[in-house]
């Protein structure tokens, strides 16, 4: 059936900021959908609040709204744009939920907008657990026994029906938020109560536990002619009980016979038909009893998902792109397979390699968070690897994680701890399995403890045996074929990595590259999507064009995420314009960069020295870009250069000059700039001496960090001592930096571009939160909203001086602090920064593309970049945090970065833009009501103005006693309330009773008692969805924003209108 001719304009909703459970995979799917629809001649309207996405680049849609993803904003946009259809299935759970809301509110009917891909009834049947259960029963499939609970009164009845342990799943949440396992009755009741709060509809499914069963997923596609194909089967390494996003997963399924696989396939097809997903992809999860093969259906996602992104990357079959084409009327047999060109998309991919996905966690950022893995997703990113055998694939995956693991490193733990780590799923259980075999535990014992399938265990046991064998026979070829890294082999044989590499090269033991082709080599592949292995034939077939290798960012983590992927994708786009062949190297399956469509060639490989050198040796590029993928490729710069690899752009020595604290001091002095007093300590004593000299509070951190890892403000020598003992290991090789902490400083971020001769400012961003809060966690405004012109000019001058002195060729980012008219340089990073996509969207300049082209030799003047763009509108970036996923974790901000994503608000003035950004971040600023103030002493004088504004806007104030007294002194009326330690009725009671509409609470971050005493209040605000601010600066901006939105309605704006002309 051909493309529908009755549709002209189609709306897509993105998934918003990166959060746990919803990451770049929806930028990948959304970008694919945008491209596919534009290619077919449709006008595309896109709404997404996340500026770091590729899909929100103005070229990818005709009308791009970077606006809060809420019902009323979407309604306004749809009323204005009047699209013919809405595609609800590519924006994750957020996009799907919004589409349901728009349909249920009657907006779609009223405006005559059709839901394409999946109709409302189908979405509801898949999403509503009762309907889904009934639907499964109708087609003879079993789901776990379960019952709905809508209040605590129904708790006992549900428990009788289901038994312990019981799974608690709140309805209508994403990433399994609020999902939990109740082991004992008390545990069950506690988690049920929590679950009821998590569900937007106060509804929880209490479900029979199938803990320890095997878990499988199938990715299914259907077209309107009812053709159904399975794209990929996935088997989870971790058994049921661990969220699939937190599980190691393997494709294809390894331990099913054909009969069992086909039964599952039949079930999946019956399910997609029964649910009635008209066109597009769905993900279906099954649990399988390892004793007898009994299958139960766990859930179905009637949309593209994280798993479908993984399946697309694992097979080379672009699910989102095909889903978009099916939604507009094509059938599978009418769409060509991009990779083979000769065959249609109506077939099932077959793969001739093994794919492993390993999640990456960030518990080190959230002390006190429960690191046990369960039904709620907790990982922040993932790495995927491809190998010809499971052993190779797994070991490549391990080194792709970038957690300084290069194989099954030994674990220095007691046997008892080892037992515990096998039994309780936590991050890193994989290494415990390896250690168990190293200590001689049997497969039976490890299986009994972990419930991991013996097939996987046996493979790992063979890897461990392989280590011992290598120590004896030194058979390098065999070890490499099993996927061991040079680094691991060096470690187990007591030599250096370089020696192993030299031996390999001497003996001709080199990797070859194979292609991902969807068809097991049955047809010729035309799209170079490659991975390495140790075999006979190399299919890389490099061209003789001028080429540039772009090193990606690896797995997402806090501090390094989608922003860097955005930069890498733009590097590819930019370099293509200059005629280069672009080669992308990355191992993150969620990303746009690992779409084979993005660059000329995709190498899906770990970002380690060994793996990158092999690609360079094969491709012989003109140069390698290491400055766009964040810290990961940057860490390789020096070693790559030493190995003779040409690094494009800013020289690694300049990077070192900026990163090495002692050389940096010289640089600042040479240019006559200012920086906070500082020093480098290589021992605990040296740190204490330094801090004494500088004066407390000081900011301490290990050198070479991104995302503020282990960065802390310490207020006295005791805190410093604790920090040096517990947070870092200081040594001559691993120095610790000590800086004077600038209290009440305004922090400023500058992104600039330089071709070695000319430096041009991309954007100057003023942070809302004061210095001391990680720049990635702080909101910021472009242009600055409070700094005077002469300060900005001083910042511009300093930026230019630094860029030219360092010889920056490409992008750079500088962080400044402004204290009482004095400008301090905090940090210089001669590389792409986290803020590049935000700046690009705020000023309408493709900064990263330009940066890449400059790195490859273009001059800024040639590219038409001659002056800084100072936009007429204001853009505000706000950070989004994962606190909701980590129960009990404090929400206070600190120098340690904790946000997972960001949103953007654009409007004609700061207050309105800030309100939009807050709204997009889930902080729906109230227009009226009661504000709770609890302010630390040093902020009390500064809060008065905020309180006055709120009173003037009609708010009433409740304040803790000290704050109330202070307000009274300024003749501001307030009602006093107890702090939590002072007893009920206290602040948390009021929040729980929904009597508070806004919380402003600042705490002495250096005082553990004050922090502890106020933590429950912050947590209560978070859990009850009350907007809260923990800094005076944030509160001030919020008060201004409230005033702005009360004065005048806020309207959505399309990027195409903002940057027109």
């Amino acid at each position: 059936m051909p493309k529908r001719s009755d549709l002209r304009k189609i709306c897509l909703i993105g998934s918003g900021p990166i959060v746990i459970g919803q990451a770049c995979e929806f930028d990948y799917s959304g970008t694919q959908a945008c491209k596919a629809l534009k290619e077919e001649g449709f006008e595309v309207v896109l709404v997404n609040s996340n500026p770091a996405t590729i899909m929100t680049d103005p070229g990818f849609a005709d009308r791009t709204y970077i606006e809060p993803l809420t019902l009323d904003v979407l309604t306004t946009i749809l009323e204005r744009e009047r699209p013919d259809a809405l595609l609800p299935t590519i924006g994750g759970q957020t996009g799907l939920n919004l589409s349901i809301a728009l349909a249920e509110a009657g907006v779609l009917d009223r405006l005559g907008i059709e839901l394409i891909g999946a109709k409302l009834e189908a979405i509801l049947m898949a999403e509503d657990r009762a309907q889904f259960r009934q639907a499964m029963a109708d087609i003879g499939l079993r789901t776990p026994r379960s019952t709905y609970v809508r209040s605590m009164e129904q708790a006992d009845e549900a428990l009788v029906a289901v038994g312990l342990p019981a799974i608690i799943r709140p309805s209508f949440t994403l990433g399994g938020a609020g999902g939990a396992i109740g082991e004992t009755k008390a545990d069950y009741l506690e988690k049920l109560e929590w679950g009821l709060r998590q569900s937007p509809k106060s509804e929880v499914l209490v479900e029979e536990s199938v803990l320890g069963w095997k878990e499988f997923e199938l990715e299914v596609m259907r077209d309107q002619a009812d053709n159904v194909v399975i794209i990929c089967s996935i088997e989870n390494f971790d058994p049921m009980g661990v969220h699939t996003g937190d599980s190691i997963t393997v494709a294809p399924a390894q331990t099913l016979t054909d009969k069992e696989y086909q039964r599952m396939r039949d079930a999946a097809i019956a399910i997609i038909r029964k649910i009635g997903v008209d066109t597009g992809g769905s993900n279906i999860q099954f649990a399988l009893n390892p004793e007898n093969g009994e299958i139960v259906v766990i859930e179905m996602n009637p949309r593209v998902s994280r798993s479908s992104a993984l399946a697309s990357k694992a097979t080379g079959f672009p699910i989102a792109k095909i889903a978009a084409k099916l939604a507009i009327g094509y059938t599978l047999d009418e769409i060509p397979n991009d990779i083979t060109k000769a065959t249609p998309a109506s077939f099932e991919p077959t793969i001739d390699y093994v794919v492993t996905k390993i999640p990456r966690f960030a518990f080190e950022k959230f002390p006190g968070a429960d690191s046990r893995l369960g039904v709620q997703m907790k990982s922040v990113g993932e790495a995927m690897s491809i190998g010809r055998t499971f052993k190779e694939s797994l070991q490549k995956g391990m080194r792709s994680l970038e957690i300084d693991r290069y194989g099954f490193e030994n674990l220095d733990i007691t046997d008892e701890e080892l037992n515990d780590r096998l039994k309780v799923a936590r991050p890193g259980r994989l290494w415990a399995v390896g250690e168990a075999f190293r200590r001689g535990l049997s497969i039976e014992v490890v299986h009994a403890l972990s419930k991991i399938d013996p097939w996987f265990l046996h493979q790992i046991a063979e890897i461990i045996a392989g280590e011992a064998r290598f120590q004896q026979d030194g058979d390098l070829r065999r070890a490499k074929r099993d996927g061991f890294s040079d680094r691991r082999l060096a470690a187990i044989s007591g030599v250096t990595e370089a020696e192993i590499r030299a031996r390999r090269q001497a003996e001709g033991i080199l990797p070859v590259f194979k292609r991902v082709d969807t068809c097991g080599a049955e047809f010729e592949s035309h799209t170079p999507y490659l991975y390495s292995t140790y075999e006979q034939e190399c299919e890389a077939d490099p061209t003789d064009r001028d080429k540039v290798v772009i090193l990606g960012g690896g797995p997402n983590r806090i501090g390094q995420g989608i922003e860097f992927d955005y930069c890498c994708v733009h590097a590819a786009i930019g370099l293509e314009k200059d005629g280069y062949e672009t080669l992308m190297v990355n191992c993150n399956p969620e990303t746009v960069s690992t779409d084979y469509d993005t660059s000329d060639r995709l190498y899906f490989e770990p970002l380690t020295l060994e793996d990158v050198l092999a690609i360079v040796a094969t491709e012989k590029p003109k140069g390698v870009i290491v400055q766009f993928g964040g810290q990961t490729p940057l860490r390789l710069a020096v070693a790559l250069e030493a190995a003779g690899v040409p690094i494009l752009g800013t020289k690694p020595d300049a990077i070192d000059r900026a990163e090495d604290r002692e050389r940096f001091v010289e640089l600042i002095e040479k240019l006559g700039l200012r920086q906070p007093e500082n020093g480098t300590a290589r021992s605990v004593e040296a740190a204490k001496r330094l801090a004494d000299g500088i004066g407390y509070p000081v900011l301490v951190r290990p050198s070479y960090v991104l995302g503020g890892r282990a960065m802390q403000i310490v207020h006295d020598v005791n805190e410093l001592d604790t920090y040096m003992r517990e947070a870092v290991t200081v040594s001559p090789e691993h120095p610790v930096l000590v800086d004077r902490f600038l209290p009440d400083a305004i922090e400023v971020d500058v992104d600039a571009i330089c071709d070695g001769e000319t430096a041009i400012i991309g954007g100057i961003m003023e942070h809302i939160e004061e210095a001391g809060i990680h720049s990635g966690d702080s909101a910021c405004s472009l242009p600055p909203y409070s700094l005077p012109r002469y300060i900005l000019d001083e910042i511009r001058e300093a930026t230019r001086a630094l860029a030219l002195e360092l010889g920056v060729v490409g992008l750079m980012n500088i962080q400044f602090a402004v204290v009482e008219d004095k400008v301090y340089v905090l940090e210089v990073n001669p590389r792409a920064s986290r803020t590049v996509p935000f700046v690009a969207k705020a000023v309408g300049l493709p900064l990263a593309q330009l940066g890449a082209r400059v790195m490859a030799g273009k001059k800024l003047a040639e590219l038409g970049v001659v002056a800084e763009i100072e936009p007429a509108h204001v853009s505000v970036k706000e950070a989004v945090f994962p606190f909701m996923k980590f129960s009990g974790v404090d929400t206070l901000l600190s120098p340690e970065m904790k946000s997972t994503g960001e949103v953007m608000g654009i409007d004609r003035e700061f207050g309105r833009a800030y309100a939009k950004a807050q709204r997009a971040a889930g902080m729906n600023l109230p227009r009226e009501g009661t504000v709770l103030l609890s302010i630390r002493d040093e902020d009390k004088s500064r809060i008065v103005e905020v309180a006055r504004t709120l009173i003037a806007e009609g708010f009433s104030i409740v304040a803790t006693h000290g704050t109330a007294r202070c307000l009274k002194d300024s003749e501001i009326p307030s009602e006093a309330v107890n702090k939590v330690p002072e007893g009920s009725p206290h602040t948390v009671d009021l929040i729980q009773q929904r009597k508070i509409d806004l919380v402003i609470a600042t705490t002495r971050t250096g005082d553990p008692v004050a922090v502890r005493d106020s933590a429950t209040m912050r947590r209560a605000a978070l859990e009850h969805g009350v907007p809260y601010f923990t800094t005076v600066a944030g509160a001030r901006a919020a008060a201004g924003a409230i005033r702005a939105i009360r004065a005048d309605a806020v309207e959505p704006l399309a990027l195409q209108d903002i940057h027109r002309g």
């Binding site: 016979t257 065959t343 077959t350 390699y353 097991g520």
Partner: protein, 379 residues
């Protein structure tokens, strides 16, 4: 690798792949083909259609689920050698009864693992399927090359006689996991199934569709079949070149129009020959579980399991206006199904019985029953 566990696959064009031995210590000679299915190696091993062939699995990890009695597709293993990237000797599956290694040893089938199977597949894809010699232990390469080059081609080889049954028998086992109570209901029909190398799952599916099945040897004459007085006649899958078993097409020619006929794979080709068509040898055939079979009547695409190295020539069939081509393979437009506009017969190149492969076309067994029932209604 040491010489005692060394093995090699030597192709007739002289190409050699070195690997490690597994399975039985024996030599294997045959046409080297590759199978792209990711599951079902045991069904492939026991599919008599692979007689005379050495099969390379494109999925690299083979042996994961061991073997079991339920998944046998025939009385034995008829292929000549098994080629995998990684042989797994530690199965994990609740139905597993025997490891692949032990199974191959028991059936005296040699295997080679550790070779670059993808390179082999690309070689066969470009040059076409060719003969090969699989050998364990030390090998005299020059001699092996000569030997491989001298092996006879598949074209014109009668392999059916090697795999068909000695004498007629009845079959009553229902499909895997089928509900016996359901099966008992409804009228049953008698079908005679020609065994050109029949897979047991065809027999099971026939039972499931309401047939009492009598399996007869390939050489059974039309008269002998008609003497049984079946309601329908089934033509099975089987190995090799259909033109090499002329007696089969001759018998079928006599049966056309006398009883409803349903053919699968080689049975489809034999039916085509009986109707006056011709076959050609394909470059490397279709061996996999992901082939798109386009149903020209409904426009739908079925994902089909296929295993054939020969195909009917479309032109040779459509010369007769009463013959209709019902299915085409979407990848290369080869004939995947036919029927007669007037006479009660139809056949498909792919495998509706799956095993291994998807069940998308399992309804064809029901269609066969309906064809018989409609004939009874007319009579």
């Amino acid at each position: 690798m040491t010489t005692e566990n060394a093995a090699a696959l030597v192709l007739s064009d002289g190409t050699v792949f070195h690997g490690e031995a597994f399975g039985a210590t024996a030599e294997g000679v045959g046409e080297v083909v590759f199978h792209t299915g990711m599951t079902g190696y045991q069904e492939i091993l026991t599919d008599p259609s692979y007689a005379g062939q050495i099969v390379c699995m494109t999925y690299p990890e083979i042996g994961n689920v061991g073997t079991n009695e339920e998944d046998e597709e025939s009385r034995g293993v008829f292929l000549k050698g098994f080629v995998v990237r990684d042989h797994v000797d530690f199965p994990s599956n609740w139905r597993s009864q025997e490891s692949l290694q032990s199974y191959l040893v028991r059936h005296e089938i040699p295997g080679v693992s550790g070779i670059d199977t993808r390179a082999l597949v690309r070689h066969l894809r470009t040059r076409g399927a060719m003969n090969g010699y699989l050998v364990h232990g030390a090998v005299d390469l020059a001699q092996a090359r000569t030997y491989a080059a001298e092996l006879p081609s598949m074209e014109g080889r009668n392999l059916v006689d090697e795999v068909t049954c000695d004498q007629a028998y009845t079959w009553s086992e229902p499909p895997y996991g089928a509900d016996a109570a359901n099966l008992a209901a409804g009228k049953r029909y008698r079908v005679v199934a020609y065994d050109f190398g029949i897979k047991r799952n065809i027999l099971r599916e026939l039972v499931g569709a309401g047939f009492d099945v009598t399996v007869v040897p390939a050489s059974t004459t039309a008269a002998e079949v008609l003497a049984i007085d079946p309601d329908g006649i089934f033509l099975s899958n089987g190995p090799g070149d259909p033109a090499a078993v002329p007696y089969a097409a001759a018998a079928v020619r006599e049966l056309i129009g006398k009883r409803p006929i349903f053919g699968i794979c080689l049975g489809h080709q034999i039916l085509g020959l009986a109707l006056g068509g011709t076959v050609h040898k394909m470059r490397f055939g279709h061996h996999g579980a992901n082939q798109p079979a386009h149903d020209l009547e409904t426009g739908r695409v079925m994902i089909a399991s296929e295993n054939h190295g020969f195909a009917l020539d479309a032109d040779s069939l459509t010369r007769d206006p009463e013959i209709e081509i019902t299915h085409l393979n979407l990848n290369d437009q080869t004939v995947e199904g036919l029927r007669h506009r007037r006479l009660p017969l139809f056949s498909v190149q792919y495998h509706p019985e799956a095993s291994p492969g998807p069940h998308d076309t399992a309804h064809l067994f029901e269609r066969f029953r309906e064809l018989i029932e409609s004939g009874h209604a007319e009579a």
